[in-house]
Each structure stands twice: as C-alpha cells, then as structure tokens.
Symmetry: C2
Amino acid sequence: MPLLAADQIRQTAERALVRAGVPAPSAVVQVDLWLDAELRGVPSHGLLRLERIVQRIEAGLADPHVTGIHTWQGSSYLAVDGRQGLGPIVANAALARIQERARHSGIAIAAVANAQHIGMLAWYAERVAREGQAAIVLSTSEALVHPWGGRKALVGTNPIAIGIPTGETDPFVMDTATSVVSMGEIHDRANRGQAIPEGWALDADGNPTTDAEAAKRGAIAPFGEAKGYALGLAFELLVASLSGAALGTDVHGTLDTTRLCNKGDVFIVIDGPRVAGLSAYLDIIRSAEPAAGFDAVLVPGERGRANRAARLTDGVVIADPVWARLQQLADGPIQQQQHVLS
Amino acid sequence: MPLLAADQIRQTAERALVRAGVPAPSAVVQVDLWLDAELRGVPSHGLLRLERIVQRIEAGLADPHVTGIHTWQGSSYLAVDGRQGLGPIVANAALARIQERARHSGIAIAAVANAQHIGMLAWYAERVAREGQAAIVLSTSEALVHPWGGRKALVGTNPIAIGIPTGETDPFVMDTATSVVSMGEIHDRANRGQAIPEGWALDADGNPTTDAEAAKRGAIAPFGEAKGYALGLAFELLVASLSGAALGTDVHGTLDTTRLCNKGDVFIVIDGPRVAGLSAYLDIIRSAEPAAGFDAVLVPGERGRANRAARLTDGVVIADPVWARLQQLADGPIQQQQHVLS
C-alpha cells in the first residue's frame, strides 16, 4: 500500500470531485472531511467513499450544487431539507446558522434530512468546539445493527459525537457508533480472510458467527449489549422525529448508488461552556495508573489526533485499490456513465 | 419483605418528609419520584434515599424550601443555582421554564448546579415526552467508575435519559447509567453474600474482582468498554462546563450526609417532534424474532413500565430495613439530631 503525502491525496481527490461536477470550494470541504478520517485512522469514513459519491452525482442521486433549504421552526430550531446535497456542504451551511443563533439564544439545533452521508462526526464537533461552543452531533444510517436479543438488523449504527472546549490547545472530542464495530471493519476482516471476535455479529439467520463473510450478510451487535441498543434506538427515534428521516430498514442511500438518501442528522450547539477545571481533570485521567494489560489511560479522541499529526508529517498509507481508483477518477480516461435517476 | 400497597408507602414517606420540614406539596413530588423508581424495579433510586435526604435537611445540607435561582444566559439557556434544594423540586421548576421557552424557540436547555440528587432520570424524560416534547437529560455523580484501561474511579456513573413522543399511549423512554451496573447493585450483592460477574468492577488496588465486598471499595467498569467510558467522560465534561458542577473525585453530596451537593444536571427540551412512523417501527422491533436465549425483543423502558402497572395493582415489595426506617421516620419517636453544617 502506498505511503503518500497528505497533500498529494488531497489534490488528487479534489480533482476527481471537480471532474464529477463538484464546485471547487465544495470539493475542498468534502475532501477535507474524508482525508481527516484517513489521517485519524478511520479509513471506513475516508476516501473509500469518494467513488460512491461520484457515482451518485452521475446517477442524479446527489446534487453537488445545493446547500439545503433552511426553515426556522422556532427561533432556535433550524429544519433543513438537504435536497440530496453533499453531506458536509449541507451540514456546514446549517451549522453556521445555528452557531450564530446559539451565540444569542444559548442553544440551537439543526435537524437535517435528505443530505448525503455526512462522514465522521468528530470533524464537525471538533470545529465547533475550537470556536468555543459545545456540540452534540447525531446521525442515522442504514439498518445494520440488531436489537439486543434480536436476530435481524433493524437499527442504524447511529453514531454520536460530542465536542467541548477545554482551555487546552485541542478540545475534547469523542465520536462513537452505537454498534460494537463498523460494517467497514467487518468487510476489512472478510477481505483479509480473518475471523471476527465472538459477540461482534450474527449471520443471516440471526445466529452468532465469527465468520466475517457470514457477518457481512447478517447484523452487527450494539455496543454494550442492552445499554448500547437503548442508545442507538433512542438516536434513531430522536433523529427521525426531529428531521423527518426514515427509520430502520427504510433507510437507504449512503451505501448504495441506486436510491435517494433518507437518513437524518442532528446538530445541537450550546454556547458559553466554561473551561475552568476541565484541563486539570483531564490531566488527572491522563496521568492515572493504567490497569494490567494497558500502557496508558487515554482520553477519547487523542489517539486519533496523534495519528493525524504523525501522518501529516510522515505521510498516509492508503489502500491500493482506493488510491488506484482515485487516480483514475481524477486523471484517467472518462468512462461511460449511466443516469439511474434524474 | 413486606408487600405493601403503593399508596401506603406513598403516604408514609410523605409523612416522614413533612415531619422533616418539607412543605407538603414538595413532599408529594419528591416521594412520587422515589416511588416511581420502586414501581419500575429500580430500588437503588427508590425510598432507600429518603433517610439520607432527611439527614441532610437536619444537617442543613439540603434546603426543602427553595426552587433554585434562575438566570437566563441567552434566551434559551437557563442557568440554575439549586441552592441545595431538593432535586426534583429544583429540576421541575427549571423544566417548566424551558418547556415553555422551547414552545417558542424550538429548543431550550437548563443547566443545574447545587441541587440534591435528582433521582431516576426517566421520571423527567417521560413527563416531558407525554407533553409532546422530546427530552435529553444528563446528570453527574460521585466518581465511581474507572476510565477504560485505568485502576481507580475517576468518572461518575453519569446517566442519560431520552424521552420521545411516539403517538402511542406511552412515550419512548430510555434511561441508563454509563457504568456497567450501579453501585447499588454491587451493595445489594454484597449484602446477600453473592459474587459479582467478571468485568463489573475492580478492587481497591485496581485489579479485577468478583468479590462484591472488594468491589464496594474499588471502581465500577464503564459499560461497553472504551465506548461507554468515552460517553461517560463526555457527559462529565459537558455537564460541568455547562452547569459549573464539580468534576471527578471532587464531586460530593449525593451519597453522604456531610458535604454540600456539587454534581450537575442538564435538561434539553426540543419542541415539535413528529410521531409519524415511530409506532409502526417500534411494532416491527416488538414483533421481531428473538435470538437464542431470549424470550422477546424488548423496547427500552417497557419492562419497567409493565412492572409499574403490575405493582400499582398487586402491591410493592419493599426491603424490610427501608420500610422499618420509613415508618420510624414518619411515625416513630423523634430522635436527637445533630447539625453537621448550618
């Protein structure tokens, strides 16, 4: 797998998006989101996703020119119809509005439907927190997770990210799916011919499996058994009831190239969090004695941030097929495209 | 253990609080919160807590006459100094303000410091959801939970509750601590001389233990390993930064009778959630085929609600010492009290 300078990947990916019809400023934003995931070590939310967006644009399922239609439902509640715009373009436009509103009201929410995949939630939470506000970000997905005690996937992987300014150079940012692992990780194990740990997934018949291929056709477990299931289901209901997004197995459009995107995203921005004491508390955690089998007690988000710093200096390892496809989409011969929907 | 009518427990507990100086209307509210926990099967948040509040009132650590000082930080952000008032009295006063505000603004937040323990969060989330609004409730606690990979308790049990109207008779309500189990459950196992499962707790030296007595002096695990730890820590930082509450091992006052209460509570109310499709989706989950070893696929909160309905009809089993103490506090001879602080 090639080790590449981040800027080389960035420029290649931007060329690919511009060639697909994405305005240059939007290509910069969309690629920054994917590259940030690569830099932090979350390739499932990285440049792997570029080809699908290009195909969705070509199929008329994604519109790279829109930022969404904004309707204020109350002075601090922004309802956003994403009109199938690119995830970070629609999300950033909404976030800018509610960040400004929260400076006066103290809190504001944006509920987004009909945008493309918004990617790694930490990217948004970190930026808001760097600007001195707290952020809670929720998103739903295709049903990939089984209810605790169930056999079939009925709930999204429904991640949450929380960003909080701490008075340190970098804010606190946590970002986790409510599934025990991502479907991307299961695909990766399958591609390598590796087994998956017990407790990660069920097969297509709803029985426990350690076979990654079988798990691909089955369902992922919620993290933390009944508690993680309760959280994931709550996020599914909350996001849908606030944004008008679809629910459960009716959700489509972030993993395919044939259907409109109908999951939802919710952003809550809270103004004026106080940083007093936060850094001292985090230092107590960082310096705590690790348990047997651990090298250190970590603060969530900091390993990904260290990865990012190292890779910006040392370069990024990117999967061969992803890099080959990026180059082809950026600079290769133009292929015949088929519009599935208009 | 006696099986008692809910109303008998309610009236006895109300008498005990009124005798301790709690105004009758506030006693009704406080007892309803504790009794609801008993009815749902969460006795750790039930009438066990009454004696401590009586002692705290007598020690001048809890003030049964105040509802908190309200300061609007922005039009939708209510900062509340609880002035050591009773948890549900302070919380209800704040919730009434932000529920009304959210009807105009779409979303509003109350951040509460210096109130007594607010009890089971589902009680608040359910009421807000019954009134047609969505609720997110967070609270912090004494440090009882070890960071994932750590040896000592540095994080609160930091629960979250989410309530959402569904169009059904009852709203969706989930309520879970970010610890794998409550300290109350560990005390209960110790009282019965039972072992605890592997993975629940560390002993005072930070080593894994299945001895409930050793666990009482140690630390509880976060639920869901690193992910639950990340959530619990995020809630600790978010609640403290928004409310001014203490952090980590500086938190006191919900488990003792000697210190002022300095944890924090955050309520977010969101107006106008749409119920379309929610009940049909929940029915798909309820009717899903259960996995091996499960009788049914459950929707979070519904088992507790079924418990409550049954116990309102059939009576409530209450622990002998809790009932004996309730009767003594309500109707027994008045004992000499000592004021620890004034």
